[in-house]
Amino acid sequence: MDILISGLLLGGTYVLIAMGLNLQYGVARIMNLANGEMIVLGALASFWVFTSAAISPILTIFLVFPIAFVGNWLIYRFLLLPLVRRAKTQGHLEVDAILATFGMSFILIGIVVSLNGGYFTYSFLATPFELLGSTVALNRLVAFIFAVIIAVVLFLWLNRSRAGMAVRAVSVNPGSARLVGINVEKVSALAFAIGGAVSAVAGVLISTFITLDASVGVIFTMKALIIVIMGGVGDVRGAIIAALILGLVETTVATLVDPGLTLAAAYFIFLLVLLFRPQGLFGKPQT
């Protein structure tokens, strides 16, 4: 029961990370391997604001979201759009995007290390809390609740608003979206920026209960990618289920075997997905 609850709580934050990456890869068609660094930057911002001004990470979210949005929009507009325009095929774009975002991720790591090479340790709401008979840290629960709120808002925006509909249209087929009068480049930039902002906010939330440092970004990128692929690219419902599965499996392995093996557990799931359901949990097999 303890495992179930803390696994679900962890999965809740993974949902947020995966939604960020899903917008960037599913809509903007950019395989963003610097996604984890966005999380690290969010965590660093939260750490700074909390230790210097004692402002709650919950408020930091409202600061981080717009900054990360603008930052990611600029990245897309000036670094990635040229690649999109010059790419002859989707394969070309993928290779270019992978290499370019590797570059960005190393640059971001370099910058974060020069700003703060240590761990982002701070204590926020680290009090025990009773939940359905098992004890969890209050910060995990708060992070989970905010992750759920943000995920729901994002889901409603995608499914109810006009802009959300344009985003979904581009996700399904950029070529046809253009035919019905959608500015694909603009919508892609929007999706990329929102995706990055959501990731940074996830970083703020994660930093309240996990101690991060400059180098862990790639682990989060890895996990987000595994979730997105397991859920099916562009499939929000699949990503939510996949995130919860990953959270549960990781918590189980960490509790019963060894916390050092969580990445191996994630890999094991990834391998199963690749072997049996490469199209995602709810995807249809391609012929």
């Binding site: 570059g103 640059i107 370099g110 692929i229 060894d258 690749l274």
Partner: protein, 308 residues
């Protein structure tokens, strides 16, 4: 053999002869830089054998390299086996491992493959550390041989020459032809009856084979081996960057990337060590935006030749 082939072989022999004399002229610091460069020449060139034609970015070099170094260390330190035996064992293990990874991921789109290899070295490192702490119970391993740096350098030179010969042979074999078609258009390749998955897995296995051998040869240089040292994700990125910087559409392309990059990297590590990660990032961006075909592509453009 055309006259051009004969000319290329002669140039190759002269280059190898010059490279073989390096330990006789230099020692100490410059020999160790040359050794590092030679290591990356073998790694990057064998990496490009697979990634050049297919455009699949493999980040598994660090994992295979680690398997080589770690198995040699375990065999010699814990079981008193000979260096040569363990080198052979590690090469076989890495080749089989590469085959399994290839079969699981290379049937699918290239992105899955990149993602899978991205965390591979880190995952193996976690598992090896866990095994050591809980099952095997030893932490550090010693590799004690009477090899000097010059010996290691010559061994790496031999491996590099083997990679070049194999690369040249593959390029004119049916497999090499198949790889070029796959690289241009995989659908076409499948329709003309090429078993694309098999061809890709085979070449990926050669990459794993050579990376493990290089890892095994390098092990005596460190003498003391622990998982954190040999399973380094950074190595995979350096291999990728050097091969791309040189250019992958020529067999000797990576060579032109390795030599300048190793020198710059050494300089930065000495003078501004905190800058290395940032530099790695800038190098990636430079390649993507300004040198998409590497140094070789740039040279060919300057000479006015056609780039493929």
């Amino acid at each position: 053999m055309t006259p051009e082939d004969t000319r290329n072989i002669l140039i190759g022999i002269v280059c190898v002869a010059i490279a073989a004399c390096v330990p006789l002229v230099f020692n100490g610091y410059w020999l160790s830089v040359a050794l590092t460069a030679m290591m990356y020449i073998a790694l990057s060139t064998s990496w490009a054998l697979f990634s050049g034609p297919t455009h699949y970015i493999s980040l598994a070099s660090g994992a295979f390299f680690g398997i080589g170094g770690y198995l040699v260390a375990t065999g010699m330190s814990d079981y008193n086996l000979s260096f040569w035996l363990m080198m052979a064992v590690s090469a076989v293990v890495a080749t089989v491992f590469a085959g399994l990874i290839g079969m699981a991921t290379l049937r699918l789109s290239g992105v899955y493959f990149v993602i899978f290899t991205l965390g591979l070295a880190e995952m193996i490192r976690n598992m090896v550390s866990w095994l050591q702490n809980n099952v095997l119970g030893s932490r550090g391993l010693y590799v004690l041989t009477d090899f000097t740096e010059a010996h290691i350098y010559w061994m790496l030179l031999t491996v590099s020459v083997a990679v070049f010969i194999l690369g040249a042979l593959i390029a004119r074999s049916r497999l090499g032809f198949a790889m070029r078609i796959i690289g241009n258009d995989e659908t076409v390749a499948r329709h003309v009856g090429i078993n694309t998955a098999r061809a890709k897995v085979l070449l990926f296995m050669t990459t794993g084979f050579f990376a493990a051998i290089v890892g095994a040869i390098i092990a005596p240089r460190y003498s003391y081996i622990e998982p954190n040292l040999v399973f380094s994700p950074e190595l995979s990125f350096l291999v990728v960057i050097m091969a791309l910087l040189g250019g992958m559409h020529r067999l000797w392309g990576p060579l032109l990337g390795v030599i300048p990059f190793t020198l710059i990297w050494e300089a930065i590590s000495i003078w501004i060590p905190n800058f290395t990660t940032l530099f790695l990032g800038l190098a990636f961006l430079t390649i993507v935006y300004f040198l998409p075909n590497g140094v070789v592509g740039l040279l060919e453009k300057l000479r006015g030749g056609a780039t493929p």
